[in-house]
């Protein structure tokens, strides 16, 4: 694993995520959220899980980001009003980050480097999905169908 690639990717991802959380305009925040997700996919590639990275790009950027920008478009009545930033939330977030980092750095058993492993092929993931994880797979299918129907019913215009 290349440390230069990791540092560049990590800084890129965290910067894009910060932009997504603090930008004033909603559309810019949504687009930098998509950029942050590209960074997370790059992190997955570095960690050797290419299939999960590609699935993330496909599902999150191809679908969830498009959904978010569409919803921003459809709910645009009060744009431009300066809404306040809740500084209490920022304090909580900094506190959470501080405590997590302190506990990570305290745990010495986590200071390990990556062991050599054979590359994870799509065949292995497919075999696992169809043998050990076949029940969760069917349940996720049912869940996605339920979410699809539920979302449709929520936004359907009612017949007067």
């Amino acid at each position: 694993m290349n440390s230069a690639a990791f540092i560049v990717t990590a800084i890129f991802t965290v910067a894009a995520a910060l932009a997504a959380a603090t930008l004033r305009k909603l559309m810019h925040a949504a687009l930098s959220f998509a950029v942050a997700l590209v960074g997370v996919a790059a992190l997955f590639f570095l960690l050797g899980a290419e299939f999960v990275g590609l699935a993330l790009v496909f599902i999150y950027i191809g679908a969830v980001a498009v959904l978010i920008v569409f919803t921003i478009l459809l709910t645009r009545r009060d744009v431009g009003r300066n809404r306040g930033f809740n500084w209490g939330g920022a304090l909580v977030a900094v506190a959470v980050f501080g405590s997590l980092t302190w506990s990570i750095l305290k745990t010495q058993s986590l200071a390990i480097i990556a062991p050599h492993m054979p590359a994870l092929t799509v065949k292995q993931i497919g075999a696992a999905l169809m043998t050990t994880y076949v029940w969760p797979l069917q349940c996720v299918g049912l869940l996605l169908t339920a979410a699809l129907i539920g979302a449709l019913i929520l936004v359907m215009e009612e017949k007067r």
Binding site: M27, E50, G62, V66, V69
Partner: protein, 395 residues
């Protein structure tokens, strides 16, 4: 002899890399990737330039006129004139437009189109980047096109652009499903997402004459037609060019773009066409294999580009023949016809595989597709829903 002409580009690249014999491995990898990237860009940008003039000439011939024929022999230097025109045009950005988003949209759409070209096998051992989930990479990166179209429409701060972008995204999302599901039978039968493996699975010939391409099976033919039509829609080509129909919505999401940025959108559309055709050739038409065993001495990349030219000719042919389809007709077609038929192709491929791929498998898969197709055509019949057309003439 034919082996060396087949691998001539690989040998050239190895010779170039031998100049770096003593460098560290990462540098050799980077230079190798850069050589791949530059070759890919050179080939496909030249093909784009050629295609832009050839399309106009072929369309013109279908409409009983000459195309551009003044610049150079038979008008083939027309792209140079077009390029100079696009480059010297003034770059107008609307005053209230969102500058960053407006600037990034054409860059993103062109980058996405070029990225998808990198996983297609162009010849024997000639895939630029071998990724284990190559087909998934293609679709994952291609799905970022929608976001780029939305950025173009929204960043222009223009109601027509926004409307055009919404229509374009609705069209692209609706047809992305049949596109991907029609690829699933091939992936299922081969058992791998790697394009190289899929091409290698179509290598044999029955009786030395008929190749074992997937398009020559019932489910493969149906899936190829679905894939081709969805590819037409994804590149916003006539008859599905509602997003950029000049008579309807000016230029849709590309209205506020002038000069080089418009040329970038144009280039991204054509490169998307090349990428989808290349993927169709890889999945259904046997990749770089020859049609008959006799002709295997012709290099593999020549076969690939011959098939690509045939598919691009069909693209232009369809553009010159069919009128534009209405938006609601297009959506109905996608959700009510193509999606069920795409699911049927999966079942037909499974039937073919489990009858051990013989004549019985052919029969069963053909029956499955024929039954579903007939049922769909009877259920979606619109003749009874609209009144018969009455012609009134001036008296």
């Amino acid at each position: 002899m034919s082996k060396s002409t087949d691998q001539v580009f690989l040998n050239a690249k190895q010779w170039l890399l031998s100049w770096l014999a003593g460098s560290p491995t990462w540098m050799v990898q980077v230079v190798s990737s850069l050589i791949n990237i530059f070759t890919l860009l050179a080939v496909f940008l030249t093909l784009f330039a050629l295609m832009s003039v050839l399309e106009r000439k072929i369309l013109a011939r279908m409409q009983n006129r000459y195309g551009p024929n003044r610049v150079g022999p038979f008008g083939l230097f027309q792209p140079i004139a077009d390029g100079i025109k696009m480059l010297i045009k003034e770059d107008i950005v609307p005053m209230r437009a969102d500058k960053i988003v407006h600037f990034l949209a054409p860059i993103l759409i062109a980058a996405v189109a070029i990225l998808t070209l990198g996983v297609i096998p162009y010849g024997r051992n000639m895939t630029p980047f071998t990724i284990d989930g190559g087909i998934l990479f293609f679709f994952a990166v291609g799905s970022a096109t929608e976001l780029a179209v939305f950025m173009a429409g929204w960043g222009s701060n223009n109601k027509y652009s926004m409307l055009g972008a919404m229509r374009a995204i609705a069209q692209m999302i609706s047809y992305e499903l049949p596109l991907i599901i029609s690829v699933l039978p091939v992936v299922m039968v081969v058992g791998s997402l790697t394009p190289d493996r899929i091409v290698a699975a179509q290598a044999e010939y029955t009786f030395g004459l008929v190749p074992r391409w997937f398009v020559f099976t019932p489910w493969g033919a149906a899936a190829f037609i679905l894939f081709f039509v969805s590819g037409l829609v994804e590149s916003n080509r006539t008859p599905f060019d509602v997003p950029e129909g000049e008579s309807e919505i000016v230029a849709g999401h590309m209205t506020e773009y002038s000069g080089f940025k418009y040329a970038t959108f144009f280039m991204a559309e054509y490169l998307g066409m090349f990428a989808v055709s290349g993927l169709g050739i890889t999945l259904f038409l046997g990749g770089w294999h020859a049609p008959v065993r006799m002709l295997e001495f012709i290099p593999s990349y020549i076969w690939f580009f011959a098939k690509l030219s045939a598919l691009l000719f069909v693209y232009v042919w369809v553009r010159g023949t069919l009128p534009r389809i209405r938006v609601d007709q297009m959506m109905n077609f996608a959700w009510k016809f193509m999606l069920p038929l795409a699911f049927t192709c999966i079942i037909a491929a499974a039937a073919w595989h489990y009858c051990r791929r013989g004549a019985r498998g052919w029969l069963w898969s053909f029956l499955v597709i024929a039954i579903v197709y007939t049922a769909l055509s009877m259920l979606l019949d619109t003749k009874r829903k609209f009144a018969p057309r009455v012609y009134r003439f001036a008296e």
